[in-house]
Subunit: 359 residues, 2 copies
DNA sequence: TGTGCGGATCGAATCGATTCGAGAGGCGAA
DNA sequence: TTCGCCTCTCGAATCGATTCGATCCGCACA
């Protein structure tokens, strides 16, 4: 623009038109030379590339290209909490990994968005240049978020989200999997079973599980897993943990176990392996041995190296879940209509369950 | 465009011009009404907003706005490996957390890019619509990456990167911190000290530490920490771990400890707390007690809940590091010239170090 | 030699907003 | 009453590429 310097340096970066001019072709031809979207003579293409090289032109401006094509090549991933918190959960990491991997194949990038952001929330969601959005186990604000995005024409995929009309949802069999574990415990002879649940709602703190909290719960995985457990043990009490961490599991475990022996459950079903590991540690803290004095089951199938024995759990294909979401996004962007999907879980007998001790 | 339907629905999404026309003002005025970048009469603004509401217009198209303003509102974060791998390291998570938090304040999003991608690597880096790029402890390809981005006019910040000219680098005192730990061990009376290092180069596998590997190392943190340790124990041997995980630490620990007693080191310096925890477990596996039979130190200051005692380590402000990088990015985008910075680490005496046992 | 055809290239419109200079009123001060 | 200034609004250029239809050229075939 401004001053036309002879060398391609200076402040004004070279544009495709500059390159075209230098190569003695029209901008349209130069564009084709770069994108390959059309026939170009080899010689012409070489000339354009040479001109680009001389001008230090590294390729079409992504912003301009996006405007014209209507695609940014970016997919948003909305996580429920801030990164430091959400990313402590290996299941989220694995899911994100599968998602990023699948999208990366097509050169699509992943933009991290957090549901938790205050003011900027609406702003960034509304103003983010994304071609699609994936909600990872998000709660409350999802309906609003989906509405806004829908109006902007940005398609949405949910992972373990609220199954709403017209939005493909990638799920795992939370209820069935938990039921499987509960049946395992019942078959071993357990009757006094307590739960340690994931957060049922955004902002949940460590607290006893109440029917009200269960009713009001908006976070699917936790709610569904409670139902799965109660399918077998209808009256099972529990503690709601705030995060899926060993520390939270340990704290919840203490609350359940640090009581007189007669009131102590013989088994604890934790809704994640991390929580379960915490419960095992809590038991050890109190001098209880697992599984002799207490059986513990988890959920997820995450290997916890530091545990003395493998957990009895169900494993879910977290990475595959993310990959499936990625493929769904690709299909969506290709004009397809991806279907919802529910992955099965696999029961894994570990060393943390046994028949209850004689009383 | 195409068909002009009376209702704002249908395929053709409303544009700012449509809104302006409906409100009876010019596009320029409508633009100002939305952005607030200029004086508008309250009444006019209300009329524009009402028209927008009627048309289902949710705000300016981010793509078009980006083209015009030259800003996408997105900053890229380049991580060394795929998400599932890089994100197992709590330090990276915390750093990213601080970064995202700081950027989020200004409504800037974080685009995840992985150095590891094969073909798409150059493509996505070159074609990503980012205003700046943050390199998180990346190795080999960094110089090339920086060159490409530089030509595109995208500024770069590195975290624990190669201090190259014109690029601000956010660092921690890796060498000094490790030296501190080494001196602590020396003061306790240790002489036979072995190291468990982080990967020194992209693609490192579990292997003994050699001078050649150290020379060739491109990943700053690992290399600098080896030097810090050797400042005090010049001949300390070691094992290079591939990732910063408990499992890798355990494996490396076994290699160092599963030998005849006389050849066994009395202390092991692991370059991360996760590795250190693994070493502690390895010692337990072999029936050695920590710190009586073996002292262990880590690096990072990450709390490892499942360890029976706190680690002796140095803690680094990982989140603060990310936040500093975020502020540097903001400053850069405001036309400033942020300076490199090196954070100090703090020695923390835990329960994993003691004088060596008598031989 | 005339016609048809296909590949290469070009022109011009377009994507949707932002921005700057200019114009139009309205109001207070001289 | 007139001049000047301030506030609000408008027009038009611009950001940098993509894309569609039209044109042009050479070559094969009748």
């Amino acid at each position: 623009m401004g001053r036309h310097s002879d060398n391609g340096e200076a402040d004004g970066r070279a544009t495709l038109s500059d390159v075209a001019a230098r190569a003695g072709v029209s901008p349209s031809t130069a564009s084709i030379a770069f994108s390959g979207q059309g026939p170009v003579a080899e010689a012409t293409k070489a000339r354009v590339l040479a001109a680009a090289e001389e001008l230090g032109y590294t390729g079409p401006d992504p912003l301009a290209r996006s405007l014209r094509t209507g695609r940014s090549g970016i997919v948003g991933a909305l996580i429920p909490q801030r990164i430091g918190t959400s990313f402590r959960d290996p299941v989220i990491i694995q899911t994100l990994d599968g998602l990023a991997e699948e999208l990366g194949q097509g050169g699509t990038g992943l933009l991290l968005l957090s549901e938790r952001t205050r003011e900027t929330d609406r702003v960034s969601l509304e103003a983010a240049p994304i071609d699609a959005l994936v909600l990872l186990g998000c709660g409350v604000s999802s309906p609003a978020a989906i509405a806004v995005l829908h109006r902007r024409g940005v398609p949405v995929i949910t992972i373990e989200g609220e199954p709403s009309a017209g939005v493909a949802n990638i799920d795992v069999d939370n209820r069935g999997g938990t039921r499987l574990l509960a049946e395992h415990l019942r078959d071993l002879g357990h009757r006094d079973v307590a739960l340690v649940t994931l957060a049922l709602d955004v902002g949940d703190e460590l607290a006893p599980l109440t029917d009200a909290a269960l009713e009001a719960g908006t976070l699917r995985p936790g709610v569904a897993r409670v139902h799965g457990a109660r399918d077998v043990f209808p009256a099972a009490p529990g503690i709601i943990a705030s995060g899926s961490t060993i520390a939270d599991g340990r704290a919840a475990g203490r609350m359940l176990l640090d009581v007189e022996a007669s009131a102590r459950p013989t088994a604890i079903m934790a809704q994640s392996d991390l929580l379960a590991a915490g419960v095992v540690f809590a038991a050890q803290d109190l001098g209880l041995s697992v599984p002799a004095d207490l059986s513990v089951v988890g959920f997820d199938g995450v290997r916890i190296d530091e545990l003395p024995m493998p957990l009895t759990t169900v494993s879910q294909p977290a990475q595959e879940k993310g990959a499936a979401a990625g493929r769904a996004v690709v299909e969506l962007l290709d004009g397809g209509q991806p279907e919802s999907r529910c992955f099965p879980v696999v029961f894994e007998r570990g060393g943390t369950t046994a028949p209850p001790a004689e009383r």
